[in-house]
Subunit: 244 residues, 2 copies
């Protein structure tokens, strides 16, 4: 099951930034049972826990996406217990105003997207939290469809191994049939425990080409990526986008 | 000699756009002697005539850069003859308000940049007219240092063959020692005789690393690229940047 917990929170203005993602992650780790925390620590890149801060105009939402049912129940329980909490870093009080839960079976998603008779020609990704890719020990601050698709495929394969989406040739073919045709982007930094990770934000449009099954796959992956996030540190608040 | 002719022009508001670059080029071609036009037509990518419209706040400048002394004299003569001219396309009247000429010997530039004892760590390119690169029949709308350096090297070699800057290994090494570290960019279209060329505008910062001679070369090229422009259609108004 894909579970999304949307927590409306009251956040002091001075810390209204996607950068506090790692502090919020730290709070969750404190509240969860020790064995859960150890279980999560074995994952580095593809953790079944993704969380990020969404800053939409005046509403501030803490989005937690979980790809593991036991973990979901534990997080839901610990959150509903609280009316507010404090960030260790600066002792700021954060109030919990509303909790909304959305759940979705991966089977439904697969069935829906792989039976589409018409796939949109364009998908526009609006990058909501700093996004970055790491290759050869360096951070890449430009979007790259190969890295994006690989990132989503690898995540999908980790949480739902029954589908086995990642394959080198498929990835190459997918990349040859898709293209970034428009963008408005800027580089930025994601603050994480004293270091600043080079990253980017903004939006870009992907043109989907090729035979129907390929377009279905591209579109499925870009849709699914809204939950997983893309690139590095998606558990700590990076790499979140939504399709416009 | 590198000659830059800066023409302050009065341009009706509705056509204040870098897109009229190809119309201005068309005017020049009409005024120049037939044999000069034929001479220029033999160059496709690396023409010794570069021209573009610079839109800085309220001032509108038509910048013409020429890497050939005979051509420079011809252009200067034809421009000083005129107080105004009309664009065929829409019969708009364009006034010539002021003509300024800057000339520079390539030897001076080479001497200056290759004797620098300290080269700036960062070079910030402010892209003033839509810029694009073509590879495998497709337009690339993201900046790429390899394509940028190659473009400038190839131009330099065409106009000043005595220096021979282009070399595959040197280019690879240069690329390995430079990196785009910051940017704010968006895609755009350059209008050209009914077609729209996918391109980009904005700014980005290049970090220069490596031993001193390599940094000197990178910095020389990025400086020289301000005159040549980068990528496709630099004679028609694309690919102009300046270093901030």
């Amino acid at each position: 099951m894909i579970s999304k917990i949307l927590v409306n929170i009251g956040l002091p203005d001075e810390i209204k930034t996607a950068n506090i993602g790692s502090l919020l992650h730290g709070c969750l780790m404190e509240w969860l049972p020790e064995e859960t925390v150890s279980f999560l620590h074995q994952y580095s890149t593809y953790s079944p826990l993704k969380q990020r801060l969404l800053l939409n105009d005046k509403k501030v939402q803490w989005e937690i996406v979980v790809f593991n049912d036991i973990l979901f129940n534990q997080i839901e329980q610990t959150l509903t217990l609280r009316k507010s909490f404090r960030l260790h870093y600066n002792q700021k009080e954060i109030t919990i105003e509303k909790i909304e839960i959305q759940q979705l079976a991966i089977e439904e998603l697969v069935k829906k997207y792989f039976s589409m008779q018409e796939v949109p020609r364009y998908a526009r990704l609006n990058i909501q939290s700093p996004t970055s890719f790491k290759s050869n020990g360096q951070y890449d601050i430009f979007p790259d469809l190969k890295k994006i698709f690989r990132s989503i495929m690898r995540n999908t394969d980790t949480f739902f191994p029954e589908y086995r989406l990642f394959d080198g040739d498929t990835l190459e073919y997918l990349v040859s049939k898709t293209k970034i045709v428009n963008y408005q982007l800027r580089s930025t930094k994601f603050h994480l425990e004293g270091i600043k990770i080079p990253s980017f934000q903004g939006n870009f449009t992907v043109q989907l080409n090729g035979p129907l099954p390929v377009k279905q796959l591209s579109y499925f992956l870009l849709t699914f990526g809204q939950w997983t996030g893309i690139g590095v540190k998606t558990s700590l608040g990076m790499g979140k986008y939504f399709l416009e």
